[in-house]
Symmetry: C2
């Protein structure tokens, strides 16, 4: 007979070293807390799928269930179904990327693409560069393969390519495996890489011999300003990652890698062992959605809704936040990045914020080392109504002001020094 | 402007060491070859999803599209949706496993479960034991984390626990991370572990302090004989992997791990970086299929159809195969394992078989070292009609007899010795 419970940890001497170094995602950890009804969440990056027209969903799903090719229920080749890959080619053509289905490999969301790139290319101790702050899911994906990740600062025009060049000159040629970037409406910083910096990044990748991994989940969600060509449109060597999670639905877990064949061959090989292949069923749903429904109209609804929410959040920040705080002005995407005075620790402040009925993501989650970004936070405007966003920012301002009062008092008394990172 | 083609491999100095050691799946490589119309494939392990009633599919899929909870299109928690986990608990109760939803973590097919277990527990150089031959997808999943994998032989009662004990006595206590087993209708050998050996394996795991990973994709597909309790029903510590791929549809990529909480916590952590979460949409489809459709009746159709095909294959083997060949008698599942005289190399024979219009999987694919199993082959009876199976075995027998003629002549002339593994 099995014992009813095993409460002790009989595996502590069996866990792999890589796991012992992993940090659980603060965002994930907060999901449970954020289910309390009175809490307004600014922490998740969840698209508002309630904006999707039920008729389009039903049409795409019914087409998949009725699919004459009977492909939707079976295994697929590891790189995915041809029809869906063709749809991906059509989608990225709109943003300036020209490719063929053979240049595309479908993944279980873009998160799996990050894992596969890391699994195919990172050896322990390898040097990886990224923007700082950067997407915490990318840090989780990469760190499983135990590289050293160094971050290059951002400003309002995105990656500081001048600082990247300095770092590269210091490191030397051929020493960096790849540079990971989210050029559009960066997660978490909300900034966009200026066109001249995109060109410079590509020049540097040639000069210093490193690969570029371009992650573009938000590229289609622009609320102001003109389109900037993706890095992939400027250099065919770029490894470009995309997803339907923000333009259609994350529940379908359909992402892609567009890359040179020598890269795709390695990713295909590691994907065989990781999950054999993605879901044919969701691939077929995605194919039908982007081929047979008025998805462009729905995308426009997404853009208008998110723009309104962004504006509401920015207005509330102006109205409620103290003069010591600064924040970014995103031209698209989901996120605003807030920087507080260096003596504020957003990690420890989160408990108080939760009590006041608001959540955010502490800034240190977005750096490979927990010591950076501690006075920063990511706040998401994608999921809540303008009214809720205003109320959330009002609550958050109260929490911050309380902290600032406290710290101002300590500072005045000379009990602490204003140190930290921003 | 991007260059139109990059034909040279500019990443050869960037690929991770683990990738250089990987072998591409012979089964996958053959998928393209096997699309030639006149070829009968005995190589794939694809269930015959054409047996699924269209009404059940439509019902489950429509329910998912109409789902009031609007969960199906959104991200889920990393461990999956509660309703689907409850369905998994109900499914495994039938085979003797008692668990609660909190004991279950949903994965992107059982293949991802193999990857996550390996990622959470294997450090480079760790010792892993498995049956020999064993599932090639497991070998691919594990080998990405660079363990040493040793195989313990099977006989008609499954794992030779006496040989396992010998090996363990040689290795010593606490030196093996886990033992990987497919106790029911093993892939590729087709044999089933006898109940007394299951008990012995669990005793040995306690005595020598290793974990057991039980992979049970075929357990519900029994064509003769009585049910044997899973290892998980005998010890709560076992890490049990399951999937809907063989009882419903692989295109939904829904699998699961049932394990103690200390194991699930580590798997949850590594899954965050691997793909964040599985597809909510396919989880909801799976939930509705097993809750709201007559799936037991469909399972019975699967069993009757596959039994008929197995019988056709076994009869054809008796009729056509030479006396030098031996093969297993599977009580369920998809596969028969054929052993030829040691001087036959099934890898090099495959080209001739393809020319004659039949494919199989060479035996060396199922061992961690390509030197073992070279005179063996896996033949699948799951996908083809009884008539096609008979024709395929007839063609294969011709190819084998040709080889045997040739080798008999060489043997008679004393030009080669009969060596190899079986």
């Amino acid at each position: 007979m099995p014992s009813a419970h095993i409460d002790f940890d009989f595996t502590s001497d069996k866990v792999a070293q890589r796991v012992l170094k992993m940090r659980s995602s603060a965002v994930r950890d907060l999901f449970s807390a954020a289910t309390r009804e009175d809490i307004i969440s600014l922490s998740g990056g969840m698209p508002d799928v309630s904006l999707l027209p039920q008729t389009s969903i039903r049409k795409a799903v019914k087409a998949a269930a009725d699919d004459k090719r009977a492909l939707a229920l079976q295994y697929t080749a590891t790189d995915g179904l041809l029809g869906t890959k063709q749809v991906v080619c059509d989608l990225v053509r709109d943003v300036g990327i020209r490719c063929k289905p053979a240049d595309v490999l479908l993944t279980t969301g873009a998160q799996e693409a990050l894992d596969l790139v890391a699994k195919a290319f990172i050896d322990p101790g390898d040097l990886i560069l990224a923007e700082g702050p950067t997407y915490l899911g990318a840090l989780q994906a990469f760190s499983a393969y135990e590289p050293e990740i160094r971050c290059i600062p951002l400003d309002n025009k995105g990656l500081r390519t001048d600082l990247l060049e300095e770092e590269l000159a210091h490191i030397g040629k051929g020493k960096v495996k790849f540079f990971y970037t989210i050029p559009n409406f960066q997660n978490p910083a909300g900034v966009t890489m200026a066109p001249e910096r995109r060109k410079r990044l590509i020049e540097l990748s040639e000069e210093y011999d490193f690969m570029i991994v371009e992650d573009d989940p938000y590229g289609r969600l622009r609320y102001e300003g003109g389109h900037a060509l993706p890095l992939k449109a400027l250099s065919d060597k770029v490894i470009y990652l995309g997803t339907v999670s923000k333009t259609f639905a994350p529940g379908l877990r359909t992402g892609w890698v567009i890359a040179p064949h020598c890269v795709l061959a390695r990713i295909n090989l590691v994907k065989q062992g990781t999950d054999l292949c993605g879901s044919a069923f969701t691939m077929v749903v995605v194919e039908h959605y982007f081929r047979d429904t008025p998805w462009q109209k729905t995308l426009q609804t997404f853009i208008e809704t998110y723009r309104e929410r962004r504006d509401a959040m920015l207005a509330a920040l102006e109205e409620f936040f103290p003069p010591e705080a600064t924040w970014t002005h995103p031209e698209g995407g989901f996120f605003v990045w807030v920087t507080l005075p260096p003596y504020v620790d957003t990690g420890s402040m989160l408990t108080t914020a939760l009590e006041k009925g608001v959540t955010y993501t502490p800034g240190d989650s977005f750096y490979p080392k927990a010591s950076a970004g501690r006075n920063c936070m990511r706040i998401a405007f994608c999921f809540e109504s303008p009214e809720n966003l205003r109320e959330a920012i009002r609550r958050l301002a109260l929490v911050i002001n309380d902290r600032l009062e406290l710290y101002r008092a300590f500072l005045d008394a000379g009990a602490i020094k204003g140190t930290g990172t921003g």
